[in-house]
Amino acid sequence: MKISLISVTKIFAPDIVALDNVNLIIKKGEFVYLMGKSGSGKSTLIRLITREVLPTRGKIVVGDVDLGKINKADIPFYRRDIGTISQDLKLIPKLTAYENVAFALEAMGIPHRYVKARANKVLDQVGMWRRRVFYPPQLSGGEQQRVAIARALAKSPALILADEPTGNLDAKTTEDIMNLFWNINASGITVIMATHNSNTVRDHHCRLIELQSGFVTRDARIGN
């Protein structure tokens, strides 16, 4: 899924400039790191793509969809193509790992008979099938993150947006989770990952975009 940000500026009231005249084109299948300190505009950029936030100026086009012109009724259908993973996970504690994934599919109106097969498949893909009947509070941080990834993957998205997905994890678990993201990207899904931790960035073939106070200060391809 190709993403174009054309002269995008976002100013939060009263006058907090989160992004300033950002121009980016992210191609289909790319793995993009969004690097920067807290408050640099990484999360705002991600939220602009999910259309939780509207730009003050500029244009955002995701796939064929111009987010400035999209109908209100079409937003849910647009979001079905995007898997979002955040640092605070947003798993529902009263639902098991399986139910959290199934819930996402059911909310999209997918028939029950397909939900079971799909939920089990993605839980297996992230290595959580054996722990599927556990509730989030009974799982470790890494396991919870895997469930969140499974939930994002369940709807077969064309784009994964991950906002600090390894923020609370130890080095070993971060390594495992990053491998998961690489595998996801290898299957052709565009991945945009916001992180403030440079240790997360691997020497894989990917793109690194650095943000500072709302400006893009570096846009480079790294790795082999």
Binding site: E52, R79, K90, I92, A104, P111, H112
Partner: protein
């Protein structure tokens, strides 16, 4: 089909999770609908009584000795408030008087010549027009006297007015209180589910999909409230009618089953409607505010 199952399943999950609040809302709604039902039924009965009286109510018009009866009948028929006019000859009137006197009917013979004049029995179209019609009849040259149960009618009119005002007041009060409690119950439900709603909106659930369980929750609470109110009314009205019919057998009360059934159905539909509208407004407002892009 899956969506329907999900909505029903989730609705009952919401009701179970907040069963105390749901129960309190249900009791409030039931009490309000019950009160509304009681006052509406009282008003319906007063109207029924008025209608009955309207049918039975006659204004007796006594004509002057040499009055042209046919002309007067034609003139009275032209009046807007009149539904029917019947002329009574002095002979007919005397016969009726003798009938009424029964064993003392021979007393009329003592008078000698029939003293009764030509008279008219005028049926009024609406009970509220009785006074004005009587006044209009009194102004006619050929009319000697007009007799009707004026004070009685005015009192009934007052009761009818009070009952109608009571229904309107109660309707507003029931609507306000029930709407308020249902609105707030749904709002609390929404807040308790705010994480789920956020996740659903982010993963691409339509607003309808998010909203239906909450709307159904409102409909179930309010609809069940009105159903309970109807059960209460059936019991109370049944026993009330029994007591009244024994004490005041001449009092015309509504006992026709189809009429009562129609009223009960209307009250249940009203309850469902109130629940639907309140929860719809509550959910729509919440979802549009929380999912509105910044």
């Amino acid at each position: 089909m899956e969506a329907v199952i999900y909505v029903i399943d989730n609705t009952f999950r919401l009701l179970r999770r907040q069963w105390v609040l749901s129960l309190l809302t249900l009791i409030t709604a039931a009490a309000m609908f019950w009160l509304l039902g009681i006052i509406s039924m009282a008003s319906m009965n007063v109207r029924h009584l008025m209608h009955k009286l309207e049918n039975d109510l006659l204004i007796q018009v006594y004509l002057k000795k040499n009055a042209d009866v046919e002309y007067v009948v034609d003139e009275v028929k032209k009046m807007n408030w009149v539904s029917d006019v019947k002329s009574i000859s002095p002979e007919e009137a005397l016969e009726k008087l003798e009938e009424r006197l029964g064993r003392q009917s021979h007393a009329t013979k003592l008078i000698g010549e029939n003293p009764l004049p030509w008279s008219l029995q005028v049926r009024v179209r609406s009970i509220g027009d009785t006074d004005i019609l009587a006044k209009a009849l009194n102004t006619m040259q050929e009319v000697e006297d007009v007799v009707y149960a004026g004070a009685y009618i005015r009192r009934l009119e007052r009761i009818s007015y009070l009952a109608n005002s009571g229904v309107v007041t109660m309707l507003i009060l029931a609507l306000f209180i029930t709407s308020l409690v249902i609105f707030n119950t749904i709002r609390i439900s929404l807040f308790s589910q705010k994480d789920e709603i956020f996740i659903m909106s982010l993963i691409g659930a339509t607003h309808g999909y998010i909203a239906y369980p909450f709307i159904l929750q409102g409909i179930i609470i309010s609809g069940t409230g009105s159903l309970l109110a109807v059960f209460g009314l059936i019991y109370l009205y049944g026993s009330g009618v029994k007591i009244l019919q024994e004490a005041l057998p001449f009092l015309p009360l509504i006992v026709e089953v189809p009429v009562l059934l129609r009223f009960y159905m209307l009250l249940i539909l009203f309850g469902i409607g109130v629940g639907w509208i309140c929860s719809y407004i509550s959910v729509s407002r919440y979802i549009s505010v929380t999912t509105k892009p910044i």
